[in-house]
Symmetry: C2
Subunit: 218 residues, 2 copies
DNA sequence: CAAATAGTGTCTTTGAGACACTATCGT
DNA sequence: ACGATAGTGTCTCAAAGACACTATTTG
């Protein structure tokens, strides 16, 4: 237990944050442009160092708050990344968290202490050979896969629409995450048991109004 | 970046190991009896401190080797645990890994450097109010859930039987993991596409011999 | 009333579940 | 021949997929 302690070059622990949203019919992730070396000028995931008096989940919540100004949004731990040289400066183990936020809630605060943040199209990013800082492209790729997988058997996609939503809106989100179009009637049958009607509807469009639903309790 | 550095009380990183096997018709996990404080005399998961020149996966493989003498067995990262006070001595973030090994391969080396290791029935352990060191009971519980979940849509259960196995053997493992009995004919139809026959069969039993299969490539 | 999108009824297809049967060993 | 376990054929039923239809708004 004692022979391998190297306090002077100990391991740092950080959380990296995948903040996903759906905007313009696309899955997007929040990235920042790095101001400092290493990887200065490149795009990276936002992240914070975990404080020694702070739980991992709390560090993630703090990072999300600092980056987006939002509290109480959905997030879950994704995976921990711990290759030796993933940070060229020193040894960092990063615990990645994935957060989902409806585009409407994501107000950009331009004059934020953090450098310029932007929403980047995940599909384009992963297809292109755009380089990202550190191993962040791998993290995004894994997050996208997890999200895609969980859409099928959980209600995770509901975190990407407003609290009250129409079924066509929700269906678009499903289609974007799954990367394929769905049959309207079947989609509705599938999600109907999970939701409940509100008294509201859309209006003003030149077609039949759409009822607003919310996720049912329990 | 500098104001929160507390090198003297930095965060330690460890991996905890869930070594699962099926023995005596039961899912079991490898536990050790702790020799030292804290929690001296209590059961705990084996684990190792992550070295600063060692990747997380490598630390897990090393821990498995040290604890079981086995290399090249299946394992995957489970989850990272990071509550502030999970270790009363100092701040430790633990990355839990789950390993699966056929009971036959698990030779106990009594004269091992590690303290007495034993296989403990997971169901009994989680039902009873037996206390485990640290938050290890939570880790086992999560591992059991993950295993149960993945059985249904992956071939993960194959790692708990020998390379060549009979379908009745495999079915027992599925039943133990899922906690319910399965219909033979349906089970066979489900796994048939995944496996290929060998030329071997069981023999010596007072009934029809059972063909041995292996997991099909690709 | 035409264009546009919301929402429904129902047939088809696929796979899970249930059950009854046949097959092959040792004694 | 009998007990015991391995292995198969087929019916049933429920969910997923496909398609055609009706409904309600604005201009």
């Amino acid at each position: 237990m004692k022979k391998n302690e190297k306090r002077s070059v100990g391991i740092s622990v950080a959380v990296d944050l995948l903040v996903f949203t759906v905007e313009q019919e696309r899955l997007k992730v929040l990235l920042i442009e790095r101001a400092e070396e290493p990887f200065a000028g490149m795009l990276a995931l936002p992240g914070v160092a975990v404080r020694s008096d702070e739980a991992l989940d709390d560090a993630a919540a703090r990072g999300i708050l600092e980056e987006t100004g939002l509290e109480d949004i959905y997030f879950e731990q994704l995976y921990s990344f711990g290759k030796v040289d993933r940070d060229p400066r020193n040894r960092v183990v990063s615990v990645a968290y994935m957060a989902l936020v409806p585009q409407k809630d994501l107000h950009f605060h331009a004059g934020q202490r953090t450098s310029a943040a932007e929403l980047v199209d995940v599909g384009q990013l992963l297809d292109s050979d755009t380089g990202l800082a550190f191993d962040h492209k791998d993290i995004i790729s894994l997050g996208r896969e997890r999200l895609k997988g969980k859409v099928e058997y959980t209600t995770i996609a509901f975190h990407l629409v407003d609290e009250e939503f129409t079924l066509p809106q929700l269906q678009r989100v499903y289609e974007i995450l799954l990367g394929k179009s769905l049959y309207k009637a079947n989609f509705r049958k599938k999600v109907m048991p999970l939701i409940e009607e509100t008294e509201h509807s859309t209006s003003g469009d030149a077609h039949r109004p759409s009822k607003l639903y919310r996720l049912a309790e329990v």
